[in-house]
């Protein structure tokens, strides 16, 4: 199969691209259903307390209204069914500002929205925990995170020749996929179809079934296209279930889409973190201790703590290490997985601290990192399946022109701008997860076509395309002979597009099932071959009209013996206006070692997309809670500033050649998450290099540089 016609590794255009740009790809609420009704959620306007009374008389009388659903008339659900963040209308308790407290269903969206505005709610308010700065010190150990100690970091810090101890703060960040969370729910008897954006198709199926007290086989998830998710569509949230119960109550299909404003307190966010990082080193730059202590918050009734210390566990060689977490409950919606969970925020703290210590040591930050490169995974002693940090740093330094950087800040000045260079590394674990797939081959004359089926999810990142490429190569068919069917729970179960496991898990099972069908064709031919024939050759030579096979793939048994992660090095050049403090990222380069790159075009888009969000984390994005009320003050995209085109300079992505077959058969490591990791630190380090100002609290807004 490794002939000149292979498509893996080639920059193949997205096979779903034309559908998307012509509007023919159906997203959640685009699917045609008969006679839909429209649901609009209404939300609490206090952060803590109880609902005393809901006056829905005017709403019920309003034109077109079919139902008003509140905790008074909602069906009994299983709140432990796996829906994140509660808010399932099961009681009168209010645990955060903007909690779902009811749904209006009407003939049209406009009627439903107007009626929802007519609802009057009386509350009994109680004290809310919403001022993080006042309460973070009350934090306790999370339920699932013990302190992890190697050696004695505290003692090593006390005896350090050189050290830094600093706290790095990151705000609440929101995912804000272009497509808000949206659902069509349609019942046929006891069977429920949910057209819904789901990063984990089978996860959505199970959570909906358990919560609604249904058998999983009676819940059908249809999610062929996803308009971005970034973690917010990994777990499912109350809106999915409210659509289902609304459809049941009005006995019609119901469409329910969250508004952009509702996205702020409906589907999680990245929590606020205070990360104290302490580094000790010898005078010649060998690390002797690394402590990474995170304080954060979770919801009142549920805990979620993003693992900010993960990068610190494996990035650098140090004999003494401490990773700890403290968490305090707050009256805010449950935080959740957000691109590069723990690693993007954690790397900001770690890689800023590394930059600070390098400066204190008067060492080049790349040389400092190279000096502390670990031979094995320091956290567990396992060998790396592959680790290309050194190559990422060296290749990046050369490509970026790192030699132009000055050690001392404020040395490069042009007109009114201070110019600075920054570097930072990042990492994200690589895993294959259990997945199944079916291949169906058909032949008409000499025309062989194949269909691949599995309940995978394409976030918009190119899953359709890489699976078609994988199947095309494994079956020896042109890519236009491959049909990929994913995003449907009726298909064989598969991993989710989460945690950078999608491409690895899906491509491996597709490759396996294609090899399996080839094996079966060989067996069916009853012949022996010197050179293994391909499936398409056999279909024609053996005159087989159709055949199908199924594979159920698991990770390599030996994979656990290795520590497998993607790694990167990020380089930023910033220009800071000396008068106004406005920062522009003029150039950004990410060099990534992430195993085999299936499609350099979609892979590049993944990486630069992560870079843009990382630049947003560093410079512009921030969700602000009013500590008096507990609501998000920044509640639209006019106030939550994702970077605009004009904010982004020249982006470049380089992949280090790597095939990590110790990690999985195809040697893939995953790139979705790692693209954002290390980015914010590279920008912040460049800002220091430009200005001499070390900003430890993101985002780096103009006023912080005055």
């Amino acid at each position: 199969m490794q002939d000149k016609n292979t498509t893996i590794g080639k920059p193949v255009n997205r096979i779903d691209g034309i559908l998307k740009v012509t509007g023919k790809a159906d997203y959640s609420t685009d699917h045609p259903v008969q006679n839909p009704a429209y649901a609009v959620i209404f939300k609490s306007t206090i952060a803590s307390g109880k609902i005393k009374r809901i006056d829905s008389i005017a709403a019920e009388k309003s034109a077109g209204v079919l139902a008003v659903i509140t905790h008074n008339n909602a069906p009994k659900l299983n709140p432990k069914g796996g829906i994140r963040g509660g808010a399932l209308l099961q009681n009168a308790d209010v645990l955060f500002y903007g909690q779902h407290i009811g749904v209006v269903v009407a003939e049209t969206f406009e009627q439903a929205r107007h009626a929802a505005d007519l609802i009057k709610v009386e509350y009994e308010q109680s004290d809310a925990r919403i001022d993080f700065e006042k309460i973070y010190k009350d934090g306790v150990k999370p339920k699932d995170k013990e302190d992890e100690k190697r050696g004695d970091a505290k003692a090593a810090l006390e005896n350090a020749e050189v050290k830094i101890e600093e706290t790095y703060a990151t705000p609440i960040y929101h995912h804000h996929p272009l497509e808000p969370h949206a659902t069509i729910a349609e019942w046929q008897g006891d069977k429920l179809t949910l057209y819904n954006s789901s990063q984990i198709v089978n996860g959505a199926q199970n959570a909906a079934a358990l919560t609604l007290n249904l058998k999983p086989e009676n819940v059908h998830i249809v999610s062929p296209y996803i308009g971005g998710g970034f973690g917010s569509k990994g777990g499912q949230w109350g809106n999915l279930i409210l659509a289902a119960i609304a459809a049941k109550m009005v006995n019609r299909p119901v469409k329910l889409a969250l508004t952009r404003q509702q996205m702020f307190n409906s589907v999680g966010f990245r929590q606020r973190n205070y990360q104290k990082v302490s580094l000790a080193a010898t005078k010649d730059g060998k690390l002797t201790a690394l402590a990474h202590e995170t304080s954060t918050h979770a919801a009142i009734q549920d805990e979620f703590v993003e693992p900010c210390g993960d990068c610190s566990k494996i990035m650098y060689d140090t004999p003494n290490s401490l990773i700890s977490y403290r968490v305090t409950p707050m009256n805010l919606i449950l935080p959740t997985y957000t691109r590069g969970p723990g690693k993007s925020t954690g790397s900001f703290a770690l890689e800023s601290a590394m930059d600070e210590l390098a400066y204190k040591l008067k060492m080049d930050p790349i040389a400092f990192r190279l000096k502390n490169e670990p031979e094995k995974d320091p956290s567990n002693g396992k060998p790396w399946s592959s680790r290309k940090v050194v190559e990422c740093l060296n290749v990046g330094a050369k490509a970026f022109g790192w030699e132009k950087r000055k050690m001392e800040p404020r040395q490069l000045i042009q007109d009114n701008y201070l110019i600075g260079y920054g570097v930072a590394c990042g990492t994200y674990p690589a895993h294959q997860r259990d997945s199944s797939a079916i291949v169906k081959l058909k032949r008409e004359g000499n025309n062989v076509t194949a269909t691949i089926e599995l309940a995978a999810a394409d976030l918009g990142t190119g899953t359709y395309t890489i699976l078609a490429q994988t199947a095309a190569d494994a079956l020896d068919l042109p890519i236009n002979k491959i049909t990929v069917k994913i995003g449907d729970s009726d298909l064989p179960p598969a991993a989710g597009s989460v945690g950078s496991v999608g491409a690895t898990s899906y491509a491996n099972v597709v490759n396996d099932v294609c090899n399996k069908v080839t094996d079966e064709l060989i067996a069916r031919s009853g012949k022996q071959y010197f050179v293994r024939p391909t499936a398409s050759q056999l279909m024609i030579s053996e005159k087989i009209a159709d055949i199908q096979a199924r594979a159920d793939s698991k990770p390599l048994e030996t994979a656990e013996q290795y520590s497998s992660h993607s790694f990167n090095a990020n380089f930023a050049e910033v220009w800071v206006n000396q008068s106004t403090g406005m920062v522009r990222v003029e150039r950004f380069l990410a060099v990534t070692g992430a195993g085999k790159i299936l499609n350099p075009k979609t892979a590049r888009s993944q990486i630069i997309g992560g870079n843009v969000w990382g630049i947003g984390m560093a410079l512009t994005e921030e969700s602000i809670v009013d500590p008096r009320y507990g609501h998000f003050v920044t509640r639209s995209l006019a106030e939550y500033h994702v970077p605009s085109n004009l904010d982004i300079g020249e982006l470049d992505a380089i992949f280090i050649k790597e095939e990590d077959t110790l990690s999985n058969k195809l040697g893939i490591k995953g790139i979705g998450e790692v693209g954002i990791v290390g980015v914010a630190a590279a920008v912040a380090n460049a800002v220091f290099n430009a200005t001499g100002k070390r900003i430890r609290e993101l985002p780096i807004l103009p006023d912080k540089l005055l």
């Binding site: 306007t45 034109a63 406009e110 929205r113 107007h114 505005d117 404003q261 009114n416 008068s579 106004t580 403090g581 406005m582 522009r584 410079l619 512009t620 602000i624 009013d626 008096r628 009320y629 609501h631 003050v633 920044t634 509640r635 639209s636 006019a638 106030e639 500033h641 970077p643 605009s644 085109n645 004009l646 904010d647 807004l701 103009p702 006023d703 005055l706």
Partner: protein
Amino acid sequence: MKPFKYINAKDAPAAVKLVSENPNARFLAGGTNLLDLMKENVEQPDEVIDITRIALTQIKATSAGVSIGGLGKNTDAANHPMIRQNYPLLTQAILAGASGQIRNMATNGGNLLQRTRCPYFYDVNMPCNKREPGSGCGALEGINRMHAIFGWSETCVAVFPSDMAIALAALDAVVKIQSPGGQEKSIPFADFHRLPGDTPEKDTNLGHGELITAIEIPKNNFAEHSYYLKVRDRASYAFALVSVAAALEMNGNVIKQARLAMGGVAHKPWRALKAEQMLVGKEPTEANFKLAADAEMAEAKPLEHNKFKVELGNRSIVLALQMAFNSDKS
């Protein structure tokens, strides 16, 4: 959003009549702000009078200067050769606002009538004296990084969001109005927008039903030395933290006339008159610019989260004046 009646007005007198007869009627021009406010229930008109088909779109030279149609699009005003050549400050200010798509929809009159983007004004569940007089000011002791440092009152600390209007204030524009009685009147730009005082619900001195037909800008000698500086949290599509419209008329090496207006600092375009006066007769040096900026910013009264605007305003005045002075060289 409250259900409303939509009426397409055939001409200006008809539109003015329709709106003036109903206190809950609103003109609909570009809709880039009104429709957002209606979706959020901040504005709840029961009648919306569409004026987009009325031909008040012309940009034309007059004996006094230039007249810009009230219903012309922001994009057209910014790019008109006469504006680009004679009033580059206005071009720069318009192009610093919003996004290309919004400027293609937004009208010149509508730009002046934008409501504040104060998040407490925009959220009907929050107190706001501007939206609901007597309910209190959410921002005074709330999150007020974006808010006013000049001219605010205990009832309202909101800022006026337009960029275009800051340039118009600096250029001493005049707002031409058609009133319900049929008469036409003019309001000098300095008197058009208001400070909040005890009536923050009133942004301008325009009466209900009055329609902006044109904006007139008198001739000036600022084209060679003018600059609009906008400092913001991202490079595009963000409201100003501070903006400065600066214009100089030189007499040899001495400033004959200076104009300075600031955005993002007050409930109206803030004319920095004190600084302007100090610059007249001076040489265009950084030291003189700094003295003028110091004098103007000494009056600032920042809130809890926007103390930085005093220093930023000071630096921005200096930078904008430098850029204005050097703008003929670029």
